[in-house]
Symmetry: C2
Subunit: 402 residues, 2 copies
């Protein structure tokens, strides 16, 4: 059965919300056809400081880093880091006095509202994470799922500073009983005339993820910009981007998962044509993944001789063990060398593979393995919305050597 | 003997060069009185993309990161990284096609000129380093030495990618015999009518430093901007900034140190009032150092109660072992906690010390120790030009808690 025969019901399902958003002047914030156009678009105002050369603007809410722009230095500069918003960001005034931002903590023995200023007295930690949209790699699905057709650029490796969530829990007397989930709610203004549950950005993750989570106010050494969730963002290391709630206004430890659509129905691993529901796995942990950034085939033929093939590899929720490279489309593999500083288990590593390549055509691929032995698979897991693509075959590149 | 009684001979010595530079329209590039003004100045054109809020512009060749802007995330964003040039940078056109830049390698068995494009085939490595001007901390010298009065902001921790110098040596047949120095020459245009040796940016370091050195084309994930030495910069990890030659056009393994003034006379640990010469130690290795970035006393009184005191610490040429904090001006010390990813021996670490501070006045200080047991000293080494200040007392801050 082809995918297209299944697409009608899903579109139908979304129609009510889309109409309401259109009425609220927010039509461009949905994942509609407009987001799929590849024509060059201007940067939206709230991200106007991004480097236009290094990004692809899919829509006002979806901006991708170019594969050629990743470089080799581990850290992704903020001015080329991808953006994916589920709603328009709040007014920029919220980042003018970031210490005044308030967050309500619930599901602890002494629930209360805290300012960022108060959070800053409770503790300080820094963590480097792969930040990745769960739809990264969607563009490689032949079924063309609805949503932005990201290739590799809805990801980056960045450094966050903030207070450990466990320090906040501790300061508020510990968790109440029976709360297996940590639920974060974004501070976006919700459009009128729409069921809040259908649009609110609210996600739940297993409470165990709180152990390494941060309430962060800094990104790569500077206050978090509005485009990336400032003044305060929930960082859940090892979890796909959508779980890292921007402008977080409420952090609750809850008996159940949120009933918001973004949790209950979207970001679910439903089969092609299926409707996402709580019976399907949510896009939580980032699976092991890697890809080659250079040569990528984009810059024309490569000169025959010694070539430094390089890319990024990460274990996602687990540390990376190793990465292999193939220059023959996956027939044979050899271990690549990890270079540069190791920023910890949630960061990516840069890898290099030195090859002698005579003139010809090559299919270059990389395949990562995490510390638990999970191997990046050849094939993607087919799913309706094109999530969690870590197929090494999809990420391989065809390169001419002359 | 006061310092001022010694200052005349040095000024006299420099007068010839200063006049020639003035004639060439380059007067603002000397370390004269103009550089010491604290009035707000505009960013120079080649660094116009820096974030003006986070820097202090001392002059067209000297831009400092504000102490309050360092943040807590290990990496210093390039848009607030300090700048110190000894000559105006070359024309910006050199960074338009960075792969075309050429460097001549000498003192190897097969000397030759290589393009960046060719260097990129020879190897790839990434290293995080503290980049620090040897004059950082000069502003704390009561003797007010000539030169920019940097406090803490002529330093940053950044990530470089490029080819290891040892890979280049290997590709060119190895070193010739009898070359104890690695000498780099910058690609700046020299003013007419001046003895080239008096102005050329050419520095020698012990050849052992080549082991970890890079010829780098990338800084924090992007091509090195002109302001930071792009398209190609020599990175000598663990060595003070002046040894990291910008726009490097020649890398020579040499029997002797360069006779350029910047090597033979400047950047020497001459006694106060003395004239720098090869008999005095050159500013090579970075000594162990740390300082507190927050609270710094700049933002007004701190609220009484729990306070997260944080700053940066580095071993310089050696890895950092630990860092202690004092809240009583150095009478008593307690070990601080190192946070965040460890980017390797040449990087700095962020440290945090959680203190309960009742209302009162405090002098906060930090003291680092490197892996060889070198302890950051209480007192600076007095020297004519104010180099290598790693005194913990000079870097202490006075803070009101209310």
């Amino acid at each position: 059965m082809s995918h297209s025969s299944f697409s009608m019901p899903r579109r139908h399902l979304l129609a009510g919300t889309a109409s309401a958003l259109a009425a609220a002047g927010l039509a461009s914030w949905t994942n509609g056809a407009a987001a799929q156009s590849t024509a060059a678009k201007p940067l939206p105002g709230y991200a106007g400081w991004k480097n236009p050369k290094n990004v692809i603007v899919h829509s006002a809410n979806t901006i991708e880093t170019r594969r050629s722009a990743f470089g080799t230095s581990v850290i992704t500069p903020v001015d080329q880091l991808y953006v994916r918003n589920n709603l328009p960001p709040p007014d920029a005034s919220i980042v003018e006095n970031p210490d005044d931002w308030e967050i309500t903590i619930e599901g602890v023995k002494n629930p209360r509202t805290l300012t960022v200023r108060e959070l800053k007295t409770l503790g300080l930690e820094t963590v480097a994470t792969v930040l990745q949209c769960s739809g990264n790699g969607r563009g490689f699905f032949p079924s063309k799922p609805s949503g932005t057709p990201w290739t590799v650029g809805a990801a980056g490796c960045v450094v966050w500073s903030g207070v450990p969530v466990r320090k906040v829990i501790e300061a508020l007397g510990g968790l109440v009983d029976g709360v297996p989930y940590m639920t974060g709610t974004g501070g976006e203004k919700l459009p009128d005339g729409v069921d809040p549950k259908s649009v609110v950005v609210e996600r739940s993750v297993p409470v165990a993820a709180a152990q390494d989570a941060l309430l962060a106010w800094e990104l790569n050494g500077q206050p978090i910009p509005l485009a990336h969730g400032g003044p305060l963002r929930l960082i859940v290391p090892g979890y796909q981007g959508v779980n890292n709630i921007k402008y977080i206004k409420r952090l609750a430890f809850t008996p159940k998962e949120s009933e918001a659509r973004i949790m209950a129905n979207s970001y679910r691993m439903a089969p092609p044509g299926g409707k996402g529901s709580p019976q399907h796995a949510s896009v939580w942990e980032i699976p092991v993944k890697s890809w080659i950034n250079s040569p990528s085939g984009e810059g024309g033929p490569v000169k025959a001789g010694k070539v430094q093939i390089h890319g990024v590899a990460f274990g996602g929720a687990r540390a990376l063990r190793s990465v292999e490279v193939s220059v023959d489309g996956g027939k044979t593999w050899k271990e690549a060398r990890l270079i540069g500083p190791d920023l910890g288990k949630y960061a990516w590593r840069q890898f290099v593979f030195e090859a002698q390549l005579p003139a010809g055509e090559y299919v270059l691929a990389s395949r990562a393995v995490d510390v638990e032995g999970n191997v990046q698979p050849e094939h993607r897991i087919e799913n309706d919305r094109g999530y969690n693509n870590n197929s090494w075959a999809d990420h391989a590149v065809r390169v001419q050597v002359a």
